[in-house]
């Protein structure tokens, strides 16, 4: 039977429509509630501008970190077979399901002033990660990493090893194979993984506030500013929220063809 002409039972149609409304209503609320006439003014408010600037810098930094660590991890998971592979994979996926606040507590225990690594960094190198933009990057990269790893790993598996073998018979050493054959083959997935990781990093709240704190201009990213300003200057908070929504929709639109392609 044709998918489009199929009759849908009411028991499915009604909850499905409710589900759609449930997702759409808050978005509609954001748009209708927005102080459109003061929007530009709200976004150029010093507090908002500082938060935006910090968010852009830190999320970009987090994406770079997630990329640099996630790409090798994805390659290892897709190409190597070793003892404990699935256990290691599960560990890397933990930040995806972990409550972000717990992630922040964990980061404190590792990289905080008295943490496992943080203590060493502070005592010997004078590097303090908490309450610094670097701490924000760390917190965002932590939660974003698994998104990059799953996306790229799936693409590497789908690409297979056939082309890599062909490259080897043509004299390509492992690094050349990676650079000239493997990475071009998974290029679109790299972009999609980076976009997902960036979107996740941009929205990070719990781990950031727990680990890096809420210091204006240093660690107060857009989500933190929205939460803080909701009482004091609600129109600025709404304007920032609207901007985040626009960013999310843009990322989704960029990934749309990929997701639709997978669903079919």
């Amino acid at each position: 039977m044709n998918r489009r002409t199929r009759r849908v039972p009411l028991g499915i149609a009604i909850p499905a429509a409710l589900g759609l409304a449930f997702v759409v209503l808050p978005l509609v609320g954001l748009v209708t509630d927005a102080p459109w006439d003061t929007l530009v003014g709200s976004l150029t408010n010093p507090e908002a501008r500082a938060a935006l600037r910090l968010s852009l810098l830190c999320s970009a930094g987090a994406t770079v970190v997630a990329f640099g660590l996630g790409l090798p991890l994805a390659w290892v998971f897709a190409r190597l077979d070793f003892r404990g592979r699935s256990f290691a994979w599960a560990l890397v996926m933990v930040p995806m399901v972990l409550p972000p606040v717990v992630a922040g507590v964990g980061l404190l225990a590792a990289f905080g002033r008295r943490g496992l690594v943080g203590g060493f960094l502070a005592d010997h190198l004078g590097v303090y990660l908490t309450f610094s933009p670097a701490g924000v990057v760390l917190a965002e990269a932590f939660v974003a990493l698994p998104f990059l790893v799953v996306t790229v790993e799936a693409a590497l598996r789908a690409a297979g090893t056939e082309l890599e073998e062909a490259a080897r018979t043509l004299g390509a050493r492992p690094w050349t194979v990676l650079r000239r054959v493997t990475l071009p083959a998974v290029g679109p997935a790299l972009a999609a993984g980076a976009a997902l990781a960036w979107a996740r990093a941009l929205g990070e709240f719990g781990a950031t506030i727990t680990f890096a704190g809420n210091v204006s201009g240093r660690t107060r990213t857009v989500p933190l500013a929205v939460y803080l300003l909701l009482d004091r200057e609600p129109e600025v908070a709404t304007a920032l929220s609207l901007l985040m929504l626009a960013v999310s929709i843009t990322v989704l639109a960029a990934l749309r063809s990929r997701w639709l392609g997978r669903a079919q």
Partner: protein, 353 residues
């Protein structure tokens, strides 16, 4: 100088154990049914797969010696490989695909592009140089893949079912283009190893044929030699003759598959009887008189073959008969029908097994 290889590998149901030698500049075809281990053999030679035991030397250089723990990585072997699925790089143009092997060996960008273009010219596909593999026809893609494998002037060229991606209509022209291309380069022609299950490919692309079945070499020689004395039902089927195995004793062969075969001459012991399909006559009724070889059989398949027809019958013994279309019409035979198969003793060639 030559390629000398002896490899053994257990892989699931496959027990590969093959030794072969190809003189430098020569061509050997490895022919066998699917799953015989032919492709696995090539993968081991290319260094893409390890073997349980391997001793491979190419022109005096050891590539594999499992006993001494030597295994040259794939990228360091002077080998060109044409895969059955070609494996052209989809993100590179035809020219860049061909230049790939030159670039990895340290040849500059301009020089590599020029030499790649020359190879495309030699294979008569210069017109597709700027196109991506996805837009090429099967024959064009095959020629680009061959150009890519030849461009770095390997000492050994491995061709795995090289014509499988080519449609039947352009197979003959692609095949002859391949034959000229392998010797058309500026250097010496590479030693070739061709894996195929098409005897025409084997006979046209190589001087010598090795038959591999179930991981073992069962026979080798030219196609004419294989046809003259096929040593397995697969080879017999390949060259189109009936092959019956049994034990000879006093002018008769007791067939392994059941039944007896009267032959001329007195041999004894294990024997192979070769019967050309044209020597098998078919009758509807039990033949009059007393031909010494007559069996009640059943028709299993009828295949047209030009103005003649190949009729497969199940016995014992199972046979292929080749009769004229007219004779088939007169006999009014169809699959499932009973018939009598008759072979004159003088038409049976007996070989010791």
């Amino acid at each position: 100088m030559s390629l000398d290889a002896a490899v053994a590998l257990r892989l699931g149901a496959l027990e590969l154990d093959v030794a072969l030698t190809v003189p430098t500049g020569g061509a050997l075809a490895v022919l066998g049914p699917n799953g015989a281990g032919k492709s696995t053999l090539l993968r081991i030679l290319a260094g893409l797969r390890s073997a349980d035991r391997a001793l491979v030397a190419l022109d005096g250089t050891t590539l594999d010696d499992t006993e001494r723990g030597i295994s040259v990585p794939a990228e360091a072997r002077s080998i060109g490989y044409v895969f059955p699925d070609l494996r052209l790089f989809p993100h590179l143009t035809a020219r860049d695909n061909v230049a790939f092997g030159l670039r990895t060996r340290g040849i500059g960008r301009t020089d590599a592009a020029r030499r790649a273009a020359e190879w495309l010219e030699r294979l008569d596909v210069a017109r597709v140089a700027d196109r991506r593999p996805g837009t090429l026809s099967g024959g064009e893609a095959q020629r680009v893949a061959l150009a890519r494998a030849l461009a770095a002037e390997p000492a050994l060229l491995l061709l795995d079912e090289p014509l499988s991606a080519v449609d039947v209509a352009s197979r003959a022209t692609t095949r002859s283009a391949m034959r000229t291309a392998v010797t058309a380069g500026p250097g010496d022609a590479p030693t070739r190893l061709i894996v195929t299950h098409d005897p025409v490919d084997a006979a046209t692309l190589a001087e010598c044929i090795v038959i591999v079945e179930d991981g073992r070499v069962v026979q080798s020689g030219s196609l004419a030699e294989l046809a003259a004395r096929p040593r397995s039902p697969y080879v017999a089927d390949l060259v189109g003759v009936n092959l019956l195995r049994g034990t000879a004793e006093g002018g008769r062969i007791r067939l392994d598959g059941g039944g007896e075969l009267a032959v001329v001459g007195r041999t004894s012991g294990p024997a192979l009887a070769v019967v050309h399909p044209r020597a098998v006559a078919l009758h509807r009724m039990a033949p009059a008189g007393s031909p010494r070889n007559a069996w009640a059989v059943r028709i299993t398949a009828i295949e047209p073959l030009g103005d003649r027809v190949r009729v497969r019958v199940s016995g014992p013994p199972d046979l292929v008969a080749e009769i004229t279309a007219t004779a088939l019409g007169e006999l009014a035979l169809e699959p499932g029908a009973p018939a009598w198969a008759v072979v004159k003793a003088t038409e049976v060639r007996v070989l010791p097994d």
